[in-house]
């Protein structure tokens, strides 16, 4: 693929994946591609991260799965997905039609499940990388999340690393005291990049019925409310590792995306804002380009991690 040279240079490379710009759409907020394809020209995105896929089909949680709160929403979808086989058969042919890096977000309830689903994708044409969602509970260890226990994080990342040739991007949980330690673990285990943040554990109670609003009782907070928390974690992480960082959490506009990039993210992902305005990612791309021009920067790379502290 050759593209005419353009000023400013918007492209970035993450984990060996050449992206035409630094703006991806976050896992679970953009389906598998077709859902928003009528509204958003997929060829314009830096990458798509598809909704989390497990080895076998998974039903997720009961309804209600989602509730709006001021400045965000709390979701407990529970990782419903058709399983790897069906996803590969039904969605990959569609995705391959686009000039669009596809990052497959995977998860499992045990190390073995992670490894198996990762292996399944290894030879699938059109898959650019795997994002490893380590924020889901480990069933075998009594529900403790892989992403909040350093030893379990290490085990799952290194096990998957050994069994896939695809670039590997662990997605870190924000529910820890020291996210950069987990990023270093990922780096040490051979991850090619890390992405963060996932949703913050949260709960909403209906005071009239005295019941949790979500059937699952607890869920994860996402959206504008978490943006300053995410920027802090991305900044901390980018200072701690050499591998690229993908920043996300509460991005609604170019300014909020640029905060991540200036804090040290090589790329960003738009999540909840896709629901508010499906064109957000495109607006963010345009806004970054406009910013680079206004600041007379030749490339977005000149901006990454340039915060003066």
């Amino acid at each position: 693929m050759t593209r005419s040279k353009k000023w400013p240079e918007m492209g970035v490379t993450i984990a060996g994946i050449k992206m035409k710009n630094a703006v991806m759409v976050a896992s679970g907020t953009f389906g598998y591609g077709p859902e928003y394809a009528d509204l958003v020209d997929l060829n314009k995105l830096g990458a798509i991260v598809v909704k989390g896929i497990s080895l076998n089909p998974w039903n997720g949680n009961n309804l209600p799965r989602l509730v709006e709160v001021p400045g965000g929403l709390v979701n407990a979808i529970g990782l419903q997905n058709p399983g790897a086989e069906k996803f590969i058969k039904e969605y990959m042919p569609f995705l391959r039609k686009y000039d669009l890096p596809v990052i497959v977000n995977i998860w499992g309830r045990s190390v073995e499940e992670y490894v198996e689903v990762a292996e399944r994708f290894d030879s699938v044409k059109g898959v650019s990388a795997l994002e490893l969602n380590i924020s889901c509970p480990n069933i075998k260890h009594g529900g403790i999340a892989f992403g909040t226990d350093p030893r379990m994080a290490k085990k799952v990342i290194s096990s998957v690393r050994k069994r896939t040739r695809l670039p590997l991007i662990p997605k870190l949980s924000p529910n820890v005291s020291n996210v950069s330690m987990f990023a270093r673990i990922a780096e040490d285990c051979g991850a090619d990049a890390v992405s963060l943040i996932n949703s913050l554990p949260a709960m909403v109670i209906n005071v009239e019925t005295r019941k949790p609003v979500l059937a699952n009782v607890v869920g994860g907070l996402t959206g504008p409310a978490i943006h300053p928390v995410a920027v802090k974690m991305v900044w901390e992480t980018a200072n701690a590792v050499k591998i690229p960082v993908i920043g996300m959490g509460g991005i609604n506009n170019a300014r909020e995306a640029l905060e991540f990039i200036i804090a040290g993210a090589t790329a960003v992902a738009v999540g909840t804002a896709n629901f508010t305005d499906p064109l957000t990612s495109l607006h963010v791309i345009n806004g970054i380009e406009e910013y680079l021009k206004r600041h007379a920067l030749n490339s977005i790379k000149e901006l990454i991690g340039t915060v003066h502290t």
Partner: protein, 259 residues
């Protein structure tokens, strides 16, 4: 499905607690089918990240309308929408009601704002039918004139008896069914609260009529991406979780696996 900039041309109260919002949005008005909905970005809603789904109540020429009930933060914010304002809406969304099977009599059953898509449906069905409208009180019974203008028969029930018969809409439906010529071929189109949908579905099953139910689930994206709105559906013997916003909101009653 597309993003539209719709200009408000009218915004009035329909009855206490219900309002009708009419917009000019040619491309959408032309293509939308009864039972489909739009996903509206409500302006001036402090800290809101989600759109709100509304069935289309009317589409004619360049114009389209929704009929909405004031329930929570979003719909109360909608009150301040003024003429000339430009609203962002995604649509048409969902599958909509199927075409009426040619030999059948359309029987519509509506609860509260569920009457909106059914009024739209009636306006697009050549055949005249009957509509049963239920509500808590008189002001929850809407669109009666619309149906009468089309020459439809209208039967009403309210919980408090302030309009039509006192009781549930299924009561007047049962009365009507009981005196009906048993060979009459009916096709039900239903929209309202889950309890009502279930009750009508039972009757349809018992009498071996087809019933199309429009489901109402909390929505996130509205386009099939977030999986907030799923419903257990049994098709060809396989139970799966389908998205009300994408594969629905209208499902054949016998497919629905109620929890």
């Amino acid at each position: 499905m597309n993003m539209h900039q719709a200009e408000v041309v009218d915004h009035v109260e329909a009855s206490g607690g219900y309002r009708i919002l009419t917009v000019e949005v040619p491309s959408l008005a032309k293509t939308v089918k009864p039972g489909q909905f739009i996903h509206l970005r409500i302006p001036r809603m402090d800290g809101a990240v989600l759109r709100r789904p509304f069935s289309v109540y009317m589409a004619h020429g360049k114009e389209m309308a929704v009929l909405y009930k004031l329930v929570g933060r979003g719909t109360h914010s909608m009150k301040s929408i003024g003429k000339g304002e430009i609203l962002s809406m995604i649509g048409p969304l969902g599958n909509g009601f199927p075409m009426l099977q040619s030999l059948k009599v359309p029987v519509l059953v509506a609860g509260g704002y569920g009457v909106a898509p059914l009024a739209f449906l009636a306006s697009r069905i050549k055949k005249k039918g009957i509509v049963f409208i239920g509500g808590a009180k008189a002001s929850d019974v809407l669109c009666v004139k619309d149906f009468k203008k089309l020459g439809w028969e209208v039967r009403i029930a309210t919980d408090d008896g302030s309009a039509g018969e006192k009781g549930l809409v299924t009561k007047i439906l049962d009365e009507w069914l009981s005196v009906l010529n048993p060979v009459e071929l009916l096709e039900f189109f239903v929209c309202g609260p889950d309890g009502m949908l279930k009750a009508v579905a039972e009757r349809a099953k018992r009498l071996d009529h087809t019933a199309w139910l429009s489901l109402d689930k909390h929505m996130g994206c509205g386009v099939g991406a977030c999986l907030a709105c799923v419903q257990k559906i049994k098709r060809n013997g396989v139970v799966s979780l389908l998205r009300v916003c994408r594969e629905g909101p209208v499902f054949e009653a016998s497919e629905i696996v109620w929890e």
